[in-house]
Amino acid sequence: MSSSHYDVIIIGAGMSGLAAAVRLAYFEKKVCVLERHYAAGGLNSFYALGGHQFDVGLHAMTNYVPPGTRGAPLTKIYRQLRLTPEDFGLAPQNRSEVRFPGRTLRFTNDFAFFTREVIEQFPAQKDHFLRLVRHIQDYDELDLDAKPLSGRQVVSGFLTDPLLIDMLFCPLMIYGNAEEHDMEFGQFVVMFKSIFCEGLARPREGVRRIITALRRKVRAVGGTVRMKCGVKALHVADGHVQSVELDSGETLTAETIFSSAGYVETMRLCTDCEPEKLTPLAGRMSFVEVIHVLDQPMQALGHDATIIFYNSGKEFQYAVPADLVDPRSGVICCPDNFLFDKPLATPMLRLTCMANFDGWAALDEPAYKQAKAAWLPRIHQEVLQFVPDFRKHVVFTDFFTPRTIKHWTGHVNGAVYGAPAKLKTGRTRMDNLFICGSDQGFLGIVGSMLSGISMANLHVLKK
């Protein structure tokens, strides 16, 4: 076979693609990861601007458990990728909060703390909540054949206070729901366990540390990663991908192809695709994020919460807003507020709100800049209900939009959690093409790595 033939080609050097590559190369498959961008990480990447280092995506890594915790997803990842906790260098959070008008639920990486908090804030819901938790703990969210259920319907069968229901859904939806309004129950369980039962952590160096660990491992086990190497087309015939054509015109072949580019995005690469059938399947949930570099950490202003999921409206609406941004709910993330051994060199504050891709995409350059300038104070006005006034400490600001996300990740509509309908088994109508990453259905950084691992095991290594 020629040097351009591989056992497995993986499209996208995000968390899932790199994790799949580690597994496959470790077990002596000839693997090549193709990444269009010059930086790895996909939806969890990084960049430098104005002399500062920024993360995209990662506010905090969910699924944190202390090293050695048995049976947890993070432990599985260390084992499956032959990595150690030192490779990721995770520091746990201080404390986070869900803030709604008149009510706060605090949570830490100790689930018992959260349970007490819910019971204290919603005493009448105590038994209902405890029954819901038992149901969640017994639910097998990793069952690839489970049929989708409405999360709102299932949870409403246990809880009767709509405020508590919204306060539980708010962080779980914002951190990992592709669908508007409702959330598939299996997905709700994944997110509930990863955020409330397990917890939040962050490497001091941010997402770079995790990407570096994965890339180093891919190299160590003999896999190849080609950067600035976009895929132009997947040539298909008889339900089989015959070859992979790169933007450069070069052609590669492989027995098996994994794509982490997203389901719609991958199918669009197939030479026999019908784009009009694919468009309605794409996800629509996207976000704007304001990143402020500060001249002192938020802690010095009296703010020590790690993440605040807030909603200031009457009800919590998880949907694409009619306006460019919906500042009434979102995330306030303070990357300094983790239990690091020494403080971050650059204090920061990150503000994230739901946004409308079509609106941002339609603006010409001057209008785009103006819209950012106009929305910034409106976002500030909302978040200042929940954090001390930091505005005079801002030394640098970046503001990214759904348009930025689309540009760098290729995800249709800048949809950060992919398409609402997930393909749990990863199978497509091509017998050698499999989806991994967000659209396979395990979300978050740990979820994405687990997705790459599971798909590598199921479709290549078990054969």
Binding site: F27, G71, T75, N457
Partner: protein
């Protein structure tokens, strides 16, 4: 490989797959799953490591033979006798 060498080899593999487990007091006649936190992903890895290191194939139908160190050694002995 002798029966004992095979047990050592399997132990070595488990120590790579699950470095967080204490293997010093492992009983060779008791199921690995009863003594260690090993899931189906980990058992797949034992099979994969055996293939990678010793070029020995364990078909899925035979995974049950890998239950304990003793049963591993008994099952693998004929497959590894020339290695």
């Amino acid at each position: 490989m002798t029966n004992d060498q095979i047990k050592q080899a399997v132990l070595q593999i488990i120590s790579v797959i699950a470095p967080d487990e204490d293997l010093s007091r492992l009983k060779s006649d008791v199921a690995l799953r009863e003594q260690l936190e090993l899931d189906s992903m980990d058992f797949l890895d034992i099979v994969m490591e055996l293939r990678k290191r010793y070029k020995v194939e364990v078909p899925e139908a035979d995974y049950g033979h890998l239950a304990s160190l003793d049963s591993c050694a008994t099952y693998l002995e004929p497959k590894l006798k020339d290695k």
